[in-house]
Amino acid sequence: MVTLNVNGSTHSVDVTPDTPLLWVLRDTLNLTGTKFGCGEALCGACTVHLDGAPIRSCSVPASAVAGKRITTIEVIGKTAAGRAVQEAWLALDVPQCGYCQSGQIMSATALLARKPRPSDADIDAAMDGNICRCGTYNQIRAAIQSAAAHLAEGA
């Protein structure tokens, strides 16, 4: 049994302790918004927040994050930064196939929560671990800048 705090709720899940957090989210808790891409922390599709910081859930055993605050794409819109990011994504029509976008949004939200006015270099550093095969990088960059501007206006 592993006890996890996911999106504000506590779940006791019966999984082998080495099960990566990703598969607990997807297969046990049915939170399928977080995606599997590589299994090796190479692509960022599985990005979630652990106490607010982005992690690759495919490569973190569930047992290692017991008791910590896990946030997924399903509720990220409840935070100011998450909502701003989603609205910017919508306004700029960022997604194409959309598969990587949960991870992109989680990385972008974590960046803005930490650094409300990121430079291009900050964006590169924060987003370089998130692959998009549709090639939406320029739109992602523009949407992050737009979300940052909206957050600054609202502040």
Partner: protein, 717 residues
Amino acid sequence: MNGTAAQSRREFLRVTALAGGGLLIAVAVPGVGRLAEAAPVDATFAPNAFIRITPDGEVTVVVGYSEMGQGVLTAVPMLVAEELDADWSRVHYEQAPADPVYKNPIFGMQGTGGSTTVRASWQPMREAGATARAMLIGAAAKRWGVSPADCRGEAGHVVHAGGKSLPYGALASEAARQPVPAQVKLKDPRDFRIIGKSLHRLDTPLKINGSGRFGIDVRVPGGYTAVLARPPVPGAKALHWNAERAKSMAGVRAVVEVPGGIAAVADGYWNAKKARDALDVQWDLGANTAYSSEDIRRSFAARAQHPGLVARHDGDVAAAMHGPHAAKRLEAVYEVPYLAHACMEPMNATASVTADGITIWGGVQAPGAIQQALAAAFHLQPGQIRVTTTLLGGGFGRRFGLDFVFDAAFVSKAIGAPVHVMYPREDDMRAQFYRPAALLRFEGALDAQGAPLALRMNTVCASIAKAAHMPLPDGIDSAAVEGLTAFPYRAPNVQVEWSESEPPYTVWFWRSVGHSQNIFFVEGLVDEMAIAAGKDPYEYRRELLGGAPRYRAVLELAARKAGWSSPPPAGRYRGIAVAESFGSYVAEVAEVSVGDDGTVKVHRVVCAVDCGRVVNPRIVERQMESAIVYGLSAALYGRITIEHGRVRQGNFNDYPVLRMREMPRVEVYILPSTENPGGVGEPGLPPLAPAVVNAIHAATGKRLRALPIDTNALKRT
């Protein structure tokens, strides 16, 4: 398309009243007489319809094409909504099930690929919308006792010249009883209100909050997950494996042998993958362990010394090559490796095989092919194969493959329960569905003015058409020579030949297919000719494209927007390339710098496209940019290598793709056109690699004739 237009209206459109009083319009595709003339009311929710209008005025467009990022769930509804005069804010999409009524008229079966969706839908979907509008107008005119000619559609209402107005929803059930018009008049494009606008994509909202359902997200009650141990070498046979150890592991339900390999079936992916890894399969590797990429390359090069099947033959190449007007001779060998698609969502599918049929859920490009192939393999009728197409986490041609669908069906049948077959990333990368490796041997002669006099292009690659069970007219795979046979530059003597290669790796459709290698070859060669002629590569092309105005127009636009006539920023160099593919014309200028260590940085790509009439300009721009990124990943890094019959690469560490910090600025310019639509998903790709390689030549004087780009060769020593 002409056949479609020629169909009689009555054969073409079927209309049914919806239970609850809606209107449903179905467009029958030629050769498919499947819809009942008067479907019973309780059958109106059967999935052979394209438009649904409910009494509350919501319009649903049922889309038979697969959404893999290219925007079909928006573009197809736009076509319908335009002629329907719908209120766009009340237009929704629904993904169609597999049914012959959703046949892609270009393919003759339900499938999405070849940049065909808008081309295939342009006429029939607008006619479907216009038919619905005519019937709504007929219903309103009848109710008002006025002439239909005095009524028009406007933003979801029928409006009478006298000022009366009724919303479509209020007319839906009466409209369903109107006769189907024998003919409908489509709008003059000048009156388009929806087509041509950068409307927001309809599928974005569910792609920003995790709610979009991809194949990997399908959950069927009572279902399991399976991961397979697959042959590491094509043709390898499993001799024995440790099923007992796997079955003793947590959550494991079964270990079964299926044609695709040995499947570990368990509760959830992690248990299934661990059990798969514990199977410890011993393989008889068979006859294919001798293959290596280097051997394959050598065999291709040897093969290219011999004549191939002639796919284009203009003039007399041999005579001209050695004749009195040949002022300069050129020879070159170009080559490209196998490429994986590396979709973000690894291959996967869910199947439930029961006594009365098979249900498949997944991100698939060819529901029609799935019906046919599974029916044949499982001795069922195609109608017994139900396919629910989800969103696709990337397609690029890969999801036209049926391997993962068959795996799911065989495993489900073996265990008697629904099953989701998942490919770990390494299985996806090594599944041996690759863009063909290819090698082209070129011989050419220029005349005294430097213009092409004689060109012989002899390419060697495996046949995608054979892999996909498609015809080879005159024995030639058009996918192997497309882009070569279309050589558009003025040249009196041109010969294109193809030799088929045999290595056992399955070659497959990969974004832009044969153009992905052949335009790299041709546009590199044209650059070489320009330089041999002492001419500017842009001017040289422009002059030789005098008889190809659509090529020339995009070439000029790209050059102008890129500032070709003025010097690039210090340290940067430009290359240009142009191509037609899938009915669209694209020119690209790449602005590149090369570091002392050979590192190539692409700073900017300027793209000009003529894709005929544009349905949604933003989607066109994004598809061009998407193909540029996909092409740049391949040009910089893409390579599948074979060692002792095994695929070396497995994940994004050894099959790198472009990331955020490497992303160039991309500018896309759309050339206004009144031609019918061309494709947009793929045509942005072919010119990218040659534009970059031509820019590298401008920067370094080094001509790269192989992909991916060899940075070692570019080091300044």
